[in-house]
Amino acid sequence: MATVHHSPPVAKAAVPATRRWRSGVPTPRWLVGLIVPVALLGLWQWLVNREVYTRSQLPAPNDVWLAGRQLWEAELLVEHVTISIERVALGFAWGAGIAILIGLAVGLSPVVDALLSPTIQAIRAIPSLAWVPLLVLWMGIGDQPKITLVAIGVFFPVFTALVGGIQQIDRRLVEVGQAYGLRGPALAWHILLPAAAPALLTGLRIGLAQGWLFLVAAELIGASRGLGFLLTDGQNTGRADIIVLSIVLLALLGKGTDVLLGLLQRRVLRWSDAWQA
C-alpha cells in the first residue's frame, strides 16, 4: 500500500451550537434569537403604559397571560390547542403524503407531467378561502373539511418543491444507480428521493407553515374548537386578550413544529456540504 498516499479525511467541524461574537464570550444561538421577541414584549408593555390604545384594544401582556390561565383552569386551553395540532398533523400527513406520491409520478414520467401539471397549477391558483364553502357543503362542519383544507394547503408547496428537486437531479448520479442495477422503485428510493431530499425538506417546511395558515382559515368558519375558533370567539365577544392569546399561541406552535422539522432536516441532510456563513 506504500504507493498510495494515506491521509485521513479532514473531519469537518460540526455546526457550532455556540458562536463567539466580538466580545469573545460564547453565546448560544437560541439566546440570540430571543433578543427580538423580548424587545417586542418590552415595546408592547411600553405602548400599553403610554396608553396609545385603550386597554380593550390592546391588552397588556399580563392580561393575555391571565386570559390564558383562565382558559387553562376552565380546561379549555389544552383542548383548543390539541385539536388544532391534531388537525394540522393529520392534514400535513395527508397533504405531504399525496404530494410526494404525485410529485414522484410527475417528476419521473413526462406523460404524467403533461397530463397533471397544468391542472395542478390551475388548482393551486385558487385562494384557500374559496374552498371553504364547497368543503362544508361536501363534508359538513366536522373535522374532515378542516383537515382537508390543511392538506390542500400543505400539498402545493411540497409538490412544487419535490418536482423541482427531481428535475434538478444530477443525471450522472442516476446513471450510477442504473449502472449498478437500480430500477424503478429501487432507483427512486436509493437515488431520486435522497437527491431531491434538500428540495423536499424545504418544501415540507413551507408546507407546514402553509398548513397552519389554512388551519386558521378552516377554523374561522364553522368551528366550535381550535385556535381559529378562539380567534373568532375573541372577536365576537370583544376580548382582545383572547385574540392576542390565540395569535401568540399560533406563533409558538408554528415555530415549535418548524423546529421539529428543522431537526429532521439537519439529520437527513447531515451529508450536505452546504455553505455556512
Binding site: 479525511p9 442495477g181 451529508w271
Partner: protein, 263 residues
C-alpha cells in the same frame, strides 16, 4: 483464449432535435477473458460511447454488443463502470457507496466492503462523507465500488484523467496491484498514451470521424513495467506519430490522426 467482450459491426448515431450525429458506423472489437485492453483516442472520438455500449447504458444503432456471447442489456450486472468523475452518492458514506456496488452479490457484504476499502487504502475513511475526500481518494472509492460488484468486465472510463499527475501514476500502480486479486477483463478508455502503455495488454487506437479502429498494438512487455522500458519507449514514439506529435514538418501532411492508415 475465450472471447469475453465482442462488438460486431456496431454503429451508433446520436439523434437530437432532428439532427443525427454518427459517432461510428462500423466498429468491431473483441476482448479476451482476463485481458486488459486500453482504447486510446483523441477527445470526442467516441471512446466513451464504446464503453457505455458495453455497459448497456447506450443501445447500439446497429450491430451487436455481447459479453460471453450473450447480448448486453440495461439490466446487466456483468459489468461495472468507473467513471471519469468519482460520481459518489453524496448522501452515502464511503462504505455505503462501496456497498452500492456489492448490493447484487450474495454473502457478507460488510466484510467485502471492508476488505475492498482496505485494498484501496481507505479503511480509515469508511465513515467519511464523499465531500470530505480528496479527488484521488474519491476515485479510489469509485474503484472499490466497481470491484465490489465482482463484474466479469470492469469498465474504466478515463478514471484518472481528472487527477493530478502524481496521483494519477499512483492510481495506475494501485489498479495493477488490486488486479492481482481481481483478475477480470478490463476495458480502459483513455487519451493518455503512457497510461495505456503502462497498464494494458493491448492498445486499440481509435480515430477519424465517424470513428473506427485505426490500429491495434499488443504490448510486448510483462507487468509490472518500468516506465522507462525501451520497448515501450519505441512503441510510444510510434503511437505519438500516429497522433501527429513529434512529426517533422515535411512529414506532417495532416493534423488529423484519423487520416492515418490502419495497420
Amino acid at each position: 483464449m475465450t472471447q469475453d467482450v465482442t462488438l460486431a459491426q456496431v454503429a451508433k448515431v446520436f439523434r437530437r432535435n432532428g439532427t443525427s450525429t454518427p459517432v461510428f458506423d462500423d466498429i468491431s472489437l473483441t476482448v479476451d477473458r482476463g485481458e486488459f485492453v486500453a482504447i486510446l483516442g483523441p477527445s470526442g472520438c467516441g471512446k466513451s460511447t464504446i464503453l457505455r455500449l458495453i455497459a448497456g447504458l447506450e443501445q447500439p444503432t446497429a450491430g451487436q454488443v455481447a459479453i460471453g456471447g450473450r447480448e448486453v442489456s440495461v439490466t446487466d450486472d456483468r459489468c461495472a463502470v468507473v467513471f471519469q468523475e468519482p460520481r459518489l452518492l453524496p448522501w452515502r458514506t464511503v462504505s455505503a457507496n462501496v456497498a452500492l456496488g456489492a448490493r447484487r452479490r450474495k454473502g457478507d457484504q460488510r466484510h467485502r466492503v471492508r476488505a475492498l476499502l482496505d485494498e484501496v487504502g481507505l479503511a480509515d475513511t469508511a465513515k467519511a462523507w464523499p465531500h470530505q475526500l480528496s479527488g484521488g481518494m474519491a476515485q479510489r472509492v469509485a474503484l472499490a465500488r466497481g470491484l465490489a460488484a465482482e463484474p466479469d468486465v470492469l469498465l474504466l472510463d478515463e478514471p484518472f484523467a481528472a487527477l493530478d499527475a502524481l496521483t494519477r501514476l499512483k492510481m495506475q500502480d494501485l489498479l495493477l496491484q488490486v488486479r492481482e486479486h481481481h483478475p477480470q477483463t478490463v476495458v480502459l478508455v483513455t487519451h493518455d498514451i503512457d497510461e495505456a502503455l503502462h497498464l494494458a495488454d493491448r492498445i486499440v487506437i481509435l480515430g477519424d470521424t465517424p470513428a473506427r479502429v485505426v490500429a491495434t498494438h499488443r504490448i510486448p512487455a510483462p507487468r509490472p513495467r518500468e516506465r522507462s522500458n525501451p520497448t515501450i519507449g519505441r512503441l510510444r514514439d510510434d503511437i505519438l506519430h500516429r497522433f501527429g506529435v513529434g512529426v517533422t514538418p515535411e512529414r506532417e501532411d495532416t493534423d488529423c490522426p484519423g487520416a492515418l492508415a490502419a495497420d
